[in-house]
Symmetry: C2
Subunit: 340 residues, 2 copies
DNA sequence: CTGAAAGCGCTTACAG
DNA sequence: CTGAAAGCGCTTACAG
């Protein structure tokens, strides 16, 4: 086994270079203040010793950790993972490390995890969705923690938000379905508790149906995100609301489940049943038939959230909220000729 | 806006409680050493002030950061995201925070990112795949950084590894295809550079084909992971190796692309073309036809890697490497009657 | 341009 | 059971 080698400290470098620790520190942090030959000697020795400043000592002294926290429902979901991937890259490039915390979908109990992040040194936060937790809001405001919300576009809140308009996107889709002639529709929502995105989508569906005068034939049911839940929901819809000609799913994953169940039920999509998703996961183009869905710009969301957080942390605060475009992706899983 | 509230310190709590900072500290860290009524008073005041110890100061004093680093190729890939999700939950439950770094697929240039993680305070590391970087290996060994490798099962290396046997899994699949009667096969590998998992899979394919005496009719091509690359590869195979009856993909994503291209080429799967994947992504059961694939236990991998790292950090080191089971999932995308 | 010294906020041996 | 003091490893105002 290799001989043990301890982490070297300013003192070690100073000793070998025959200078004070102050000079070592300056060679790194304020190089112009050090005579060139001295600085080069110091730097060379530091490299030789594999020196790098102790981050805890540095953080304590500078009152800066260069750590941010990211709070997401889960990583096990393409849209969040992709968002986080580009967020992390953006923060890394700017010299920040990111703590990741997966906390589930209900934002009404975010206080503890966020508190933990801040207590552990996070200087800034990225949070998916709206903050629905009064103590948390108070905490973040009192402590002036730079915070950026993402996923939802929330222009009126106390924090900058980089996201898209869930209501408008879902409404666009619902109206599209109505325009196609559908009069009996079911929306399969994701978990709505503490989840403003899902709430907005369900509301958009209800509003569109109401305005079209078909709300009495339309229903919203709530399921968790999984293929099986989607499939089971479709089975249930088929028996409880047999007049249904369109199922609008709040996520592609649910829609994938619905599609597979339609196959089992021998329901022809889109001729007998129109199905739509939300997210535009890669697969949605490959289902049989390809899934109609909403394109959510996850990668862009991550990058821009990172930029917004960086800017919020550099004391300018008050970044205007940014609304990202979503696109309705119309594919063969919708039909303009509902037959029932 | 809420009145600003600064983070309170031991000193603030001590003053209000009329005790020394030592007593405050002990009330948290060694409660039995403090008289009950005093301790309760201290704790109550600490709670009221929202006190929590400064992590940098604590880390500096204790020489413990309670931070670990996780190095993954990307989060934007279901298998790594899922693994990381459960790893993070496991570490969180044990009081650790995790720094995440997405570094791409080539493990031969891991030194810089890993170094960064350690320099930033990571006490332990989770790394996806084998370490193919001599300076990094030397660094980790000299500094005695507890490290766990995951994804690949590497029983002979210097670090514990929690993963599966890529060679055995791929070989099992290749032999299965040969047993079905295929004699002209192509493997679409992922990027092999600095990626022992992909190397093993390709080698397994070659070995199986060689032993079956059909290697002259079999080919390995390398593509990056994406639907489009898979589709383009299939197009290429169709024109360059028209005798091919089976395409073995090193990932489900590639296979999804292949499947969709087969549809465009009017190649009936599985009658004219057998297709297999690797990963068992949820979606693989829903393709048309369902994809034959290898089930990789990503969630379990994350949990057990976390446990292994915890155990390595608690100074016992030397956790035996753990080999996780993979399962060959046989579905309708394979046929036992190749017609060409 | 350089160094000695203070201090960031903790924890813990030591003394009482 | 409690407190005064040292020290973790840095950076930077201050003095020279």
């Amino acid at each position: 086994m290799a001989p043990i080698k301890v982490r070297s400290k300013v003192k070690d470098v100073a000793k070998q270079a025959n200078v004070s620790v102050a000079t070592v520190s300056r060679s790194f942090n304020n190089p112009d203040a050090v005579r060139e030959d001295v600085r080069n000697r110091v730097l060379a020795i530091a490299r030789k010793l594999g020196y790098s400043p102790n981050p805890a000592a540095k953080a304590l002294r500078m009152q800066r950790t260069h750590i941010v926290g990211a709070v997401v429902p889960t990583l096990d979901y393409a849209i969040y993972a992709r968002m986080l991937n580009s967020f992390q890259e953006t923060m890394s490039a700017a010299g920040y490390m990111v703590f990741v915390l997966a906390v589930g979908f209900d934002n009404s109990k975010l206080y503890e995890p966020v508190r933990q992040l801040v207590d552990r040194g996070a200087e800034g936060l990225l949070i998916v969705g709206r903050i629905e937790d009064a103590p948390l809001l108070k905490f973040l405001e009192e402590r002036r923690i730079p915070t950026v919300l993402t996923y939802s576009y929330l222009p009126d809140g106390p924090f900058p938000a980089i996201g898209f308009d869930n209501y408008a996107a879902a409404r666009q889709l619902a109206e599209f379905l109505i325009r196609l002639g559908h009069r009996h529709m079911v929306m399969i929502s994701g978990p709505t508790r503490g989840n403003d995105g899902q709430q907005s989508r369900a509301q958009a569906f209800v509003d569109a149906a109401s305005e079209a005068g078909i709300i009495k034939n339309c229903h919203v049911i709530e399921r968790s995100y999984s293929l099986n839940e989607g499939a089971a929901a479709m089975r249930w819809i088929h028996s409880e609301y047999p007049a249904t000609t369109a199922v609008m799913c709040a996520s592609d994953v649910l829609a994938f489940g619905v599609l597979s169940e339609c196959k089992k039920l021998k329901l022809d999509v889109p001729r007998q049943m129109t199905v739509s998703g939300f997210d535009n996961q890669d697969f949605s183009a490959l289902t049989e038939p390809p899934l109609t869905t909403i394109d959510v710009p996850a990668g862009e969301m991550g990058v821009r959230s990172g930029e917004a957080l960086l800017s919020a942390m550099s004391a300018h605060r008050g970044i205007a909220s940014v609304r990202l475009d979503t696109n309705l992706i119309v594919r063969a899983s919708t039909s303009n000729a509902p037959e029932k």
